[in-house]
């Protein structure tokens, strides 16, 4: 369902924090043929609500439908199609201990991160930055033979 007109968009969905609410949202995307590129979800502190951030692609009409269809779900309070936002993504990368640790530390710190764990055989670096920069970090980290990369998905807040 992707084509060249499709734009990357980030949507925040504020929902009632009840069982199966996430299933309702993902089923809606699956059933209507929309894409989910990344998804994060966590309760909003001191409320009975949760905040879901969805990174998706689509043209203007598709985006309008996504927003409206999300709104139609009974436990959905609010749908925000982000325009002016601060967005961050986290990534954890595991490297063999034999790699050059100071290089890795320097690289990670260039992307707002650092080494967060050193084990017998492995070292773990963490980076939290804009999604585009996270992508660059992962590309740059390639040469240090990462053995595992875990991305966290986008979180966003309107400026």
């Amino acid at each position: 369902m992707t084509n060249s007109n499709d734009e990357r968009r980030v949507i925040s969905v504020v929902v009632m924090n009840e069982s199966s609410v996430l299933a309702r949202i993902t089923a809606l995307f699956a059933g209507r043929g929309y894409n989910i590129e990344s998804l994060t979800v966590a309760p909003i502190p001191y409320t009975d609500m949760s905040h879901i951030t969805i990174e998706t692609r689509g043209n203007a009409r598709v985006m309008e439908q996504i927003t409206k269809q999300l709104h139609k779900l009974i436990p959905v309070y609010k749908v925000i199609e982000h325009e002016e936002m601060v967005e961050k993504e986290m990534v954890l990368v595991k490297f063999p201990i034999a790699e050059n640790l100071s290089d890795i530390a320097a690289l990670a710190s260039a992307y707002n991160g650092g080494i967060v764990n050193v084990g017998k055989e492995m070292v773990v670096a963490q980076v939290a930055d804009e999604p585009k920069r996270v992508k660059h970090f992962i590309e740059a980290a390639e040469r240090y033979n990462p053995c595992e990369i875990v991305r966290g998905g986008v979180v966003a807040i309107e400026r």
Binding site: A27, Q65, K68, I74, V76, Y77
Partner: protein, 568 residues
Amino acid sequence: MQMSGAQMVCEAIIAEGVKTVFGYPGGAIMHVYDEIYKQNGFEHILTRHEQAAVHAADGYARATGEVGVAMVTSGPGFTNAVTGLATAYMDSIPMVVISGQVPLSLIGTDGFQEIDAVGISRPCTKHNFLVRSLEELPRILKEAFYLARSGRPGPILVDIPKDITVEIGEFKYPDSVHIPSYKPTYKGNNRQIEKAVEAIKKAKKPLLYIGGGVVLSNAYKLVRELAEKTQIPAVETLMARGVMGAKNPLLLGMLGMHGNYASNMAMSETDLVISLGARFDDRVTGKLSEFAKYADIIHVDIDPANIAKLVDVDYPIVGDVAQVVQKMLPMLDDVNTDRYQAWREILKRYDELHPQSYVDSDEVIKPQWAIERLGELVGEQAIITSDVGQHQMWAAQHYPFDRPRQWINSGGLGTMGFGLPAAIGAKRAHPEKTVINITGDGSILMNVQELVTAAEYKIPVINVILNNHFLGMVRQWQTFFYDKRYSETDLSYQPNWKQLVEACGGIGYDVTTKEEFDAALQDAIEQDKVCFMNVAVNRFENVLPMVPAGGALFNMMLPPKIEKEGEK
């Protein structure tokens, strides 16, 4: 008051004013059935299949406008109900379906008759609930009824684990609901309404495009008033038949794939579409890029997701059709009805050029004749249900529907087997009315077991089977688009219809002539028993006009022209 979960279910149904529940018992829902046995606040009709229970509740809801209620057990009971839920969902019918579920402790263990009911029904309900504790049961039941009938109506599933139905707790049925995330818009934005009214006044060729939402919103009187006041011609969708009334001179007919010539041409040439409670379904629009190509579009719909889903809209109005039209009416006091005179005349000429017609025969009953004859004999006072296929389209084209809720059919999902159980529901709601299910020899067999229900409860539904020994609509497509390769559509092998219906406790009539048709119908009405009128009709009759799927509305295959006297 202290009571069991099962009792709470019954008390809630009574509190909601429901008089009839359709259902089928089973293991997980037995405690509720035990309470049904003890109470006398509502009647329970035992259908012979869960799908039919849901269709019957649906027919009841469509005939009355009230919430229909069906009850089924877990596992296969629920899965059988899914087609019923989907049928109601596609046509926005207010309904509450209560299903049993295995006890909480067994959920997720692949227990006997366990299935993830909320998972399966998610895409075909407006909302659904799995009850997780007795405390939340009264609130959920209240919310279920509220959600079913408010906003854009739809079916709600309440799945109740068996142990919750046994448990005893305090019951207080809430007076109101509080769902902060659910606030349907009824009123319609005043500024938008004003703009739309200005557009109406400026238009030269406006057209009212009336959908099922007008029926659901009980807005038909207001819509008729709007048409009357402005003298703007109107077309109806399949779901809106009856809104304008067949005799209304402003009604052009039904539009879409099997719409009449004038309606489809009107939509192709209009400069302003006034869409009231319609959703631009593909069976209505044909090729989207050619649909109402020269028109601005006013779209009134209670569901914002319907607006600009398929076509770009110039005047979007989110709101209840009744409330929006109510606001429009006084603003149109100074409308100049002469302005649309030329347009009305063009459309009149289109209708004269290609009226909704067929070539009748003296040798064989034409299905269209049968429908028109029904219209002449029972007309306004009957409720007509239908199954899905050629007979449904002929009924929609040729029956003189005079009021909304007189025509009950599965429009969105197109569910064969809907007609008989829906007729049972409608007849139970309106025992004083003649209820006729117009069906085909294909569709009727899909819920034929309900003859037993109708006979047992003395629900005298008349089933008019337009029998062409074919799965007619598919056969028609095979004739036109598949080089007459009649793959699996020949239904020459048939049951003995008379014996079949009599075995279930009804009456059968074999009809091959027009005289027999009249006689059978008259007898059927007098006998007041469920019956089959097995009407042998022309085998290869096609539903016309027809817009081939994906084609532009103005490219219709038309019926052969009937030459009037003195015309060549």
